[in-house]
Structures are given as C-alpha cells and as structure tokens.
Amino acid sequence: MRRRQAITLLALVGCFVSLYLWLYKIGIIGSLQCGAGGCETVQTSRWAELLGLPVALYGVVGYAVLFALSLAALQPRLVTSRRLTWTVAALATVGFLFTVYLTYLELFVINALCRWCVVSAVIMTAIWVVAVLDLRAGGNPGALPRGQPTQAGI
C-alpha cells in the first residue's frame, strides 16, 4: 500500500512539474523559477516537440494517467488487482524509457541540461523503481508475504 501511495504522490508532483514546463513552453508562464538556463535552450530546440505537440504535454498526460491509476489502485476493491499493478508498471516503464531518451538528447544532442527536466527525470525514475518493486512484491504488499515468487519479469 505504501508503494502505491508513493507512486500516487510522485505522479502528482511530476504532473505539476510537467504542467509548469508546458505552460512555459506555450508562453503562459513568462520565466522559470530557479533559472531557466538550459531549459530555454532545451525548450526552444526542435526536440521540444514530438508529433507536433510539446514534449512537456506528454509528461502532463503521462503523469496524470499514472496518478489516476495509482489512486484507483489504492481503493479497497482494487487493492488486489494484478492487472492494475501491471498497467502501472508498464506505463512507468514507458515513461522511464522516454525519460532516458530525453536525458540522452539533453546531454549529447542539445548539449544543455534543463534542471526542471532533471527533476521530472528523477521523479519518473523513482516511480519506475517503486512500480517494479510493487510488481515484484506481487502487487499487494499488504496481502502477500514479502519474497513470494511472482511473474514479474522486469
């Protein structure tokens, strides 16, 4: 249960971080706190959009879905749902891989590091680690003993 709570909280924070970057990207927020620096370079690069949409918007949607799913997984009637655990873990894996790709772009292609993107990367990595731990624990740490073999393959 605590792992799912952690995912829920992390996804909510990540959603706000992505929302902040998205609003900055579309011009609603004038300047970023704690220094834009590399964020300006990253956000104005051609890599800041994917399929015509700002990358930060994918973050907002991704975190929002993760938040909704993990919040649902905390409900008593869904707390034993293996399908939900797998879905959260799968989505977190996609998010983590996307984060790795974006960080690679920042470091080796754009040559600028946006600190707010780093915050998002840390959050997504943490979500992925916790989601995998939840999966390995059987998706229901409150009901299953620790160390029980699972089908988790990640």
């Binding site: 909510l12 706000f16 011009g27």
Partner: protein
C-alpha cells in the same frame, strides 16, 4: 481523513497555487501599459518596417494601431489581396508606421511586441499574429501572456522577447512614429499615404488601392 489523503490534498493545493502564481501576469513597463506617460521619441531616424521590393515605383505608408478594429479588418481582409496583387508583383513597397491611439489601452504594448518581434527578424509575423487573433482588443484584459504565446508560436526566442518587452526599449521609436503621423495630419487609423499623397479612398476596398497604384505607375510618379 487519512494522513495520506491529507498529504495528497496538501501537495495538490501547494502545486496548484505555485502554478497559478507563476502564471500571474508580468508587470508591464510603465511607458507601454495603460496610464503610462508617453516616452521620449527616439531620434535614430527609424522609418518603419517595409514589405516588398525596395525599387517598387509606389510606396504605401500605413499608419496603424494594433488595437484598432478597422486596422485588423484591413490586415485580415484586404492585405492578403494587396500583398498578392501589388507587393509580390513589385508594384508596391509597403511601410508600416505605428500610430497608437490614446483611447486604446494596449496599442503601444502591442506595437512594442511587434518591434520586439522585429529584433529577431519577425516583425511581419508578429504583425499578422496580433491582427489575426484580435480577440485581445475586445476583452480589455492584459494581453501580455497572449502576446508572449504569439511570440513563441511564430518562433521567437522567448527569453530575448521577454528581455525586449521588459526593457521597453522600442517605446521611443513608436512615439517618434506617432509624432510623425501627427505632423502629417493623421488623426485616425488606418491612414495611408501613396507616394506621399494621402489616400482618400475606402480602406476596405483593395481594388481602390490597385486603381490608385496603377494610376500612379501610369503617371510615372
């Protein structure tokens, strides 16, 4: 309420307030915003932004106010035809001059946004954005965020645009343009001069422009 729910709600409230605070409108430079004192006119001889061939036989000077509905209608309805038939054919060089009317709260601010676009070589893109989405001129609300969205949309460097807007450094050129218009007898917008002669036709008819331009070319003036 469980402790987790309390923490969740707390994070949501803090995050929401932080986003709202960040999105709050930025202060406008006093010389640009409503109620600000008119800035000192620039003395750099800046003559406005041109569109078209430098060797075109006819020059049209337009004194325009970005907040003026008639200017917006002209820009959206007539200007595409004029661009196609007169400017792109090399007959006309178009010159934009600012004439922010005192009755318009954000006219100077909009002119300044266009000048800041010009600093990055995108005056006409910003000009078109300001006129094409003219809803800001009807609401009376602070359009600074919308203008910044325009800037981002047309591909301006947002940080440079912000720095330009915050500095107010183009305000002197705008005031110089307005004073020049006053000296020429401009009192409303849009007002046009064709090779220095005031255009007395209807600005809502591009064919009148075409006739006038053709007659000037035929007369060799």
């Amino acid at each position: 309420m469980s402790r987790f729910n309390a923490v969740l709600i707390g994070v949501a409230v803090v995050g929401g307030v932080a986003i709202w605070y960040a999105a709050a409108a930025k202060p406008q430079p006093a010389a640009l915003g409503p109620g600000g004192a008119a800035p000192a006119p620039a003395a750099d001889g800046f003559a406005g932004f041109t569109l078209g061939n430098d060797s075109a036989p006819v020059e049209v000077v337009e004194y325009a106010d970005f907040e003026c509905p008639a200017c917006a209608q002209f820009a959206v309805v007539q200007m595409p035809t004029i661009r196609q038939q007169l400017i792109e054919t090399g007959k006309v060089r178009w010159r934009h001059r600012d004439f922010p009317l005192p009755s318009h709260r954000y006219a100077r601010f909009a002119s300044h946004a266009a000048h800041c676009g010009a600093e990055q070589g995108k005056f006409w893109e910003m000009h078109d954005a300001l006129f094409n989405d003219h809803s800001w001129a009807q609401t009376g609300r602070d359009p600074s965020r919308l203008f910044r969205q325009f800037a981002v949309r047309i591909g301006l460097d947002a940080r440079a645009y912000d720095a330009c807007m915050e500095s107010g450094r183009q305000a002197g050129r705008i005031e110089a343009s307005r004073l020049e218009g006053e000296r020429l007898g401009v009192s409303g917008t849009p007002t046009f001069f064709l090779n220095g002669r005031r255009f007395g036709g209807r600005s809502n008819a591009s064919d009148e422009f075409k006739r006038m331009v053709d007659s000037l070319i035929a007369a060799g003036r």
